[in-house]
């Protein structure tokens, strides 16, 4: 049943990449438990606007958990307390009246803060640009049923491909590692026959790029898997490591 909550928010406010940020406190009253977390922020922002203050800047777009645009650290956890849930799909019924909620941006060396809760995640795009594709031009593809793909292989590839690129894995990791993100893409393409010709090069290049961009390493904390809104498994990191070693030792790719 719908009821309303009164909350205290502590929100990270930062004017720009080089300014000093701080937590500001806001009261958020009469919040319906059916609201999404972002709708709750909308309400606060409307109130701030009317009071002549600047609303909280935050990234969001599809609001159905698939675009990967939203995400903040809520009470110390990326995308908040619910498992397998993006911030836009987190509903206020998971909070209690009187709660204090701390909202901070993703924090990682590779993700610079742009303003308030908005961060620059272009490093993730750069990892994909290093090899997260099959080099096939438009036109000339063979009939799609020409190469059968076993159902369980397709399912595993899909499990990895479900990544939405939100960056929660990086925010969750004490080392700010992007290995779950990178491993998911390497896995998807390494599993499928279409991705095999470039598998060695892809593994080497994507891992190299990831390191250059300032992401940390994996020390098996498993925070990424726990916080991933799409519940991508760290099996994908293991597969990435295998692909990487295979490429390093058994292929000619350097």
């Amino acid at each position: 049943m719908t009821k309303t909550l009164n909350l205290t928010l502590k929100v990270w406010r930062q004017k720009g990449p080089d300014s000093r940020g701080r937590l500001e406190t806001y009261n958020s009253a009469n919040i319906s438990t059916d609201m999404s977390f972002l709708e709750m922020i909308d309400v606060v922002n409307e109130q701030l606007t009317v009071e002549g203050k600047e609303p909280i800047a935050f990234d969001h777009d599809c609001r159905e958990g698939i675009c990967g645009m939203c995400g903040s650290v809520v009470n110390g956890r990326p995308h908040g307390p619910e498992k397998g849930t993006t911030l836009c799909q987190l509903h206020m019924r998971h909070f209690s009246d009187g709660d204090t909620i701390v909202i901070e941006p993703w924090r990682s060396k590779a993700f610079k803060i742009i303003k308030d809760l908005v961060v620059d995640r272009s490093a993730l795009d750069k990892i994909i640009q290093a090899g997260g594709y099959v080099s096939v031009n438009t036109g000339g593809a063979p009939d799609s049923n020409a190469i059968p793909v076993p159902q369980d292989t397709a399912e595993k590839a899909m499990d990895a491909a479900a990544c939405i690129g939100c960056g929660a894995c990086v925010a969750a990791c004490p080392n700010a590692s992007a290995m779950l993100f990178t491993g998911a893409k390497i896995s998807q393409l390494a599993l499928l026959p279409q991705g095999k010709p470039e598998a060695a090069n892809r593994a080497i290049e994507m891992v190299r790029r990831m390191d250059e961009l300032g992401f940390g390493n994996c020390t098996n904390e498993r925070e990424c898997e726990a916080e991933c809104p799409k519940e991508i498994s760290i099996v994908n990191i293991a597969r990435m490591n295998r692909e990487f070693f295979k490429a390093a030792f058994l292929s000619d790719v350097k």
Binding site: E54, D61, D125, V134, V136, T138, G195
Partner: protein
């Protein structure tokens, strides 16, 4: 202005082949000398950017989000159609063509739709080659499912995330071209004007959403793939940033806007639950493969669904449309849901919902099978509503989802501004008055992968190349206009927020220009929109500065355009004296309450020309000629 669709001659099945041969070519060495701007990175823009860059053109690509991977195509759930006939159930290019023309209630252009059907198979081939993990059968072959408006299984899918997987495929191809230096990517940019020089589109003005700077970019041609305008209704299934601004500013520069009143209200969405709500969530149409739609037979029956016996349920779609049942096209399903709720048979707290019940499917196939097909959708439903659809029927209600209208384009996908091409949902071309499920992904990718690479070459080769720089006076004039627009919005300092205006506009349109329309309501809407627009420019409150990341200012610009565009939509609805597909005027209906077309007088595309601030737009008509299908009253019975 005479609208020439430039449809090639010859039999319909050979038009595209013939046209490709007749189009002039740009030789590979010369392609390197051309600059092309692509705005938007959804399926259409992403695939176009990648394909054009592969051919050798220099591409500058712009998107509003922080990454090209996030465009709203990503949210498409159910699937993509293709006439592969892998199921051996009688599909063909011809049948896909016919279904699409009929589904669109005979208001689409035959030649475009036939080409779409012809290209549909290539799309699947291309996506599989990119590593898109489509669903497979045990033998490793591709799996299919059924969608509305068709009696064959031709929909390819990747769980309930088909749009995501196709978009990530296009994004991967785009990423490869970015790495190769052939595409220069500009994320977090919003296009705010098209620059037209000597009658040709030669560039754009964009706002850098991080720094607030107004930037100028020149090119030899401009491709808009900026999506639909469903957010004019405030509540829709579109992403928050989806807007009409790019298309509308092109309209103001001379591109005609076609059929703006053709909007699609999708039948299966999670019902509205509160005034604070920011958006609506779609539940894929694929659910209608196994879900049965019903309402209680008695009006005002408030019992929980489990206590309503089978004999007291009305499976109204199955009863009314025995041959298509729950899989009637979207416009028909939506209107019927509204009809049931208008008769006070609606369910849930607000009475504005109908049941979509999986109990029979779970009994027949087992929970595991249903979970495999729709697991992520069921999970999403549960997250939002806190109800478990495995145990209790889903509650659904129609919501704004897609816009068939868009900028008018010819067969080459070029608008009425030379050199300005429009792809995907942003154009009007293929879906007539109603789009069938799983056809948007098909159109976006057909336009981007397989049409624009040819037709843009034809345009460039046919026109002599003239250098231009972004210092040209036309660029300075455009960017000055954009800058003063932003300053004006900030200077009003009124009392009402942008969202407040947007919500009110949405209410007006939903009430008077939504699922069913009448003249009185439409006329009232025109007046209400004009008043609201007047108030907006006196009383809107936009905080912050233009030299900064300012999300309120971004929204304000979009809502300002919606406030003008909404009126155009209503005018278009008023001028179309018939009902067809998603446009249902109560004065024009059959005895069975279906849309009643007037083929003698309205078998045309209505294309609107901007004639200046505060002036009535001029209506131009493109007559639709049907040589290959017979115009009939649509029947799904």
């Amino acid at each position: 202005m005479k609208l020439d669709a430039k449809i090639p001659g010859g039999p319909i099945a050979q038009k595209w082949d013939r046209h490709r041969f007749e189009l002039k070519l740009v030789n590979p060495a010369n392609k390197r000398k051309y600059e092309i701007i692509v705005v938007g990175t959804g399926l259409a823009g992403g695939s176009a950017s990648a394909s054009l860059a592969e051919l050798g053109y220099n591409v500058k690509t712009f998107c509003i989000q922080d990454s090209p991977r996030r465009a709203h195509s990503i949210a498409a759930q159910g699937g993509i159609n293709a006439s592969k006939n892998y199921q051996n159930d009688g599909d063909s290019d011809w049948r896909l063509f016919y279904d699409t023309v009929k589904g669109g209630d005979f208001r689409a252009r035959e030649a475009n739709v036939y080409r779409l059907a012809q290209l549909s198979g290539n799309i699947i081939d291309q996506c599989v080659a990119q590593g898109v993990p489509f669903a497979r059968e045990y033998g490793g072959q591709l799996a299919n499912r059924s969608f509305g408006g068709a009696q064959v299984s031709r929909t390819f899918y990747a769980r309930g995330q088909t749009g995501q997987q196709l978009l990530l495929g296009a994004y991967s191809a785009l990423s490869r071209q970015i790495a190769a230096g052939k595409v220069k990517m500009f994320p977090r940019r919003e296009m705010l004007d098209v620059v037209v020089v000597d009658g040709k589109a030669r560039g754009i003005i964009a706002r850098n959403l991080v720094t607030g700077e107004i930037e100028k970019y020149a090119a030899d041609a401009v491709v808009l793939s900026t999506g639909g305008y469903g957010n004019v209704f405030f509540l829709s299934t579109n992403a928050m940033a989806s807007n009409v601004t790019a298309a509308y500013r092109a309209y103001k520069r001379g591109a005609l806007f076609a059929n703006p009143c053709f909007t699609q209200i999708h039948p299966t969405c999670i019902p509205v639950h509160g005034t604070y709500q920011s958006k609506l969530t779609l539940m894929s149409e694929s659910l209608r493969n196994d879900g049965r739609v019903w309402v209680p037979k008695k009006t005002g029956d408030r019992r929980p669904p489990s206590q309503i016996p089978e004999s007291e349920r009305d499976y109204y779609l199955e009863n009314k449309y025995p041959s298509f049942g729950n899989l009637v096209p979207r416009d028909v399903a939506s209107r019927n849901a509204k009809e049931q709720c208008d008769m006070k048979k609606g369910v849930g707290e607000t009475g504005l919902a109908v049941y979509l019940d999986f109990a029979d499917a779970i009994k027949r196939d087992g929970k595991d099978v249903i979970a495999k097909k729709y697991g992520n959708l069921f999970q999403m439903y549960e997250k939002i509503t806190a109800q478990n659809p495995y145990e209790t029927p889903m509650m659904i209600y129609p919501a704004v989802h897609y816009t068939m209208g868009g900028l008018w384009v010819d067969y080459n996908l070029m608008s009425t501004i030379d050199g300005l091409f429009v792809l995907g949902e942003a154009n009007f071309s293929d879906h007539g008055a109603n789009r069938l499920g799983a056809s948007a992904l098909m159109q976006g990718l057909a336009d981007g992968y397989f049409i624009i690479p040819y037709t843009i070459g034809g345009y460039l080769a046919a026109n002599s190349k003239k250098e231009i720089s972004s210092d040209h006076p036309a660029f300075r004039e455009s960017s000055a206009g954009v800058e003063s627009g932003a300053s004006k919005l900030l200077s009003i300092k009124g009392k009402r927020t942008v969202d407040d205006f947007h919500r009110q506009l949405g209410n007006i349109l939903w009430e008077y220009c939504g699922m069913s329309r009448n003249d009185e309501g439409l006329k009232k809407a025109v007046k209400l929109i004009q008043e609201l627009r007047g108030e907006f420019w006196e009383n809107v409150l936009v905080p912050g500065s233009e030299k900064d990341l300012n999300q309120s200012l971004e929204k304000a610009g979009r809502v300002a355009d919606f406030l003008e565009f909404g009126e155009l939509m209503v005018m278009d609805a008023l001028s179309r004296r018939e009902s067809c597909g998603g446009h249902f005027n109560e004065a024009f209906q059959t005895e069975e309450n279906e849309a009643k077309r007037d083929d003698d007088n309205f078998c045309h595309v209505s294309a609107w020309e901007y004639t200046g601030e505060g002036k009535e737009p001029a209506l131009h008509k493109e007559q639709l000629v049907f040589e290959n299908v017979k115009l009939t009253q649509r029947s799904y019975k």
